[in-house]
């Protein structure tokens, strides 16, 4: 959230990355572990930085030649600093360009490490998920970073299996889909990586699906009672032949509490909403796996 609204909102950085670099965004928890060509190439680059212990996070900004030589590593989001580093690295790249062009060869994907290469289910659906805190933060903060968090829009993808897609077409809203939607997507991801809900933390749920309209409610509550979300659901699902052509759903309710990486929520119960809409593949983010599938895709679908 912070990087999007600070570093990558700087016009010079946007220009450099668009014109002079090939920019790539990754969840390094995959690449630092995966045993395939992509993982090896990432570790070759990151291994030249101070973040060279692959049992720990290696997050940050890296610039590298196409051959894998590190041009810079930085884990400070200060836009002016990143802009300066980008220019310096470009100059260094230009100076060594001829040598680099001779040395670098395209790397084929080869056999992918399946543990870290999840793909959307064939015949299923990808649904964009956005989440927002609608109020409740204390009045006016002067802190720039806090302001960004407080107005942030969380983003994730919901994956729907072929069997669930078929069930929707047949006019049913599958329980497994409601469970996945609630456990992995009714989470407050506006301040960082949120804790997901355990199955038993879905305390109550009801859903109806009639004439293309979804209505329902959910109550999620952590065992220690410190995190809670009670929401109403409303949605519209439309079909075209044997396919869903529209899947728009919202959850609207009151959230309470935060997680280890989502600290400083508004005090007490606060209004919080999540929206779901069918992805059309026009955004790069449409292809990334759901956060809840990270490390255990089978658990996400179970």
């Amino acid at each position: 959230m912070l990087d999007r609204a600070s570093t990558f909102a700087h016009p010079d950085i946007v220009r450099h990355l668009t014109d002079a670099y090939i920019p790539v965004a990754i969840d390094q928890a995959y690449q630092r572990r995966q045993q395939d060509a992509e993982g090896r190439f990432y570790r070759k680059i990151a291994g030249q930085s101070p973040r060279n212990d692959f049992k720990k996070t290696t997050q940050g900004f890296y610039a590298a030649t196409s051959g894998g030589a590190l041009l810079f590593y930085n884990n400070n989001r200060d836009p002016d600093k990143v802009a300066r580093l980008l220019v310096r690295a470009l100059n260094a790249h230009e100076e060594g360009k001829e040598k680099e062009t001779l040395a670098a060869a395209p790397i084929a994907d080869g056999e992918r490490d399946a543990r870290y290469s999840p793909t959307p289910p064939a015949g299923g659906l990808v649904v964009r998920v956005h989440a927002k805190v609608l109020g409740g933060y204390p009045e006016e903060t002067e802190n720039r970073w806090t302001k960004i968090f407080q107005s942030a829009l969380g983003r994730d993808n919901l994956w729907i299996t072929k069997a669930e897609h078929d069930a929707l077409v047949a006019g049913e809203f599958p329980n497994a889909l409601l469970m996945r939607l609630a456990r992995f997507h009714l989470v407050d991801n506006t301040r960082g990586e949120p804790p997901m809900w355990k199955p038993e933390e879905l305390r109550d749920s009801l859903i109806t699906f009639e004439d293309g309209v979804v209505k329902g409610k959910v109550l999620l509550e952590a065992a220690d009672g410190k995190r809670r979300y009670e929401a109403s659901l409303y949605g519209v699902v439309e079909m075209e032949g044997k396919r869903v052509r529209r899947f728009d759903l919202v959850a609207d309710g009151l959230f309470e509490g935060g997680g280890r990486f989502t600290r400083n929520p508004p005090p007490g119960k606060f209004p919080f909403a999540v929206s779901f809409t069918l992805a059309d593949g026009s955004e790069a983010a449409d292809a990334i796996p759901p956060q809840g599938s990270r490390g255990w895709v089978e658990g996400y679908f179970r």
Partner: protein, 124 residues
């Protein structure tokens, strides 16, 4: 004018105890898990409508999470729609490092890697 207190009792059950859901029928049939208040109300049937209305209004005002209607649905969809003009969205992010590597070789450009815990374009 008289109102069946079962309606009121079920209503109170739903909003206070969360045991029934008026949308799904138990409100009308009183077949859910009844609170002692529900049972008491049935014994004291009939109750004047004015009293019932006052109590019902008080109960309704305690409902924290009302059912979403079409107007609210559209308003939330609009509010949670990302701003396509945001600067970071103008950058042509790739999500495969090796596809980016191959492009970088072909274009003679360096790579920039935004590596995070959680996907930078997604849930982080």
């Amino acid at each position: 004018m008289i109102l069946n207190p079962c309606l009121l009792a079920a209503f109170i059950d739903f909003y206070i105890a969360g045991s029934n859901d008026p949308l799904l029928g138990s409100f009308w049939t009183c077949d859910g898990a009844w609170s002692s208040l529900s049972i008491m109300c049935c014994f004291f049937n009939p109750i004047p409508l004015g009293v019932v209305a006052l109590v019902a209004l008080a109960v309704i005002s305690q409902a924290e999470v009302p059912q979403v209607g079409t107007e609210r649905f559209e308003a939330l969809r609009a509010e949670l729609r990302p701003d396509s003009e945001e600067q970071w969205r103008q950058i042509p992010w790739r999500i495969s490092l090796l596809e980016a590597q191959r492009e970088a070789v072909a274009a003679g450009k360096p790579l920039f890697i935004w590596a995070m815990d959680g996907h930078p374009l997604g849930c982080t």
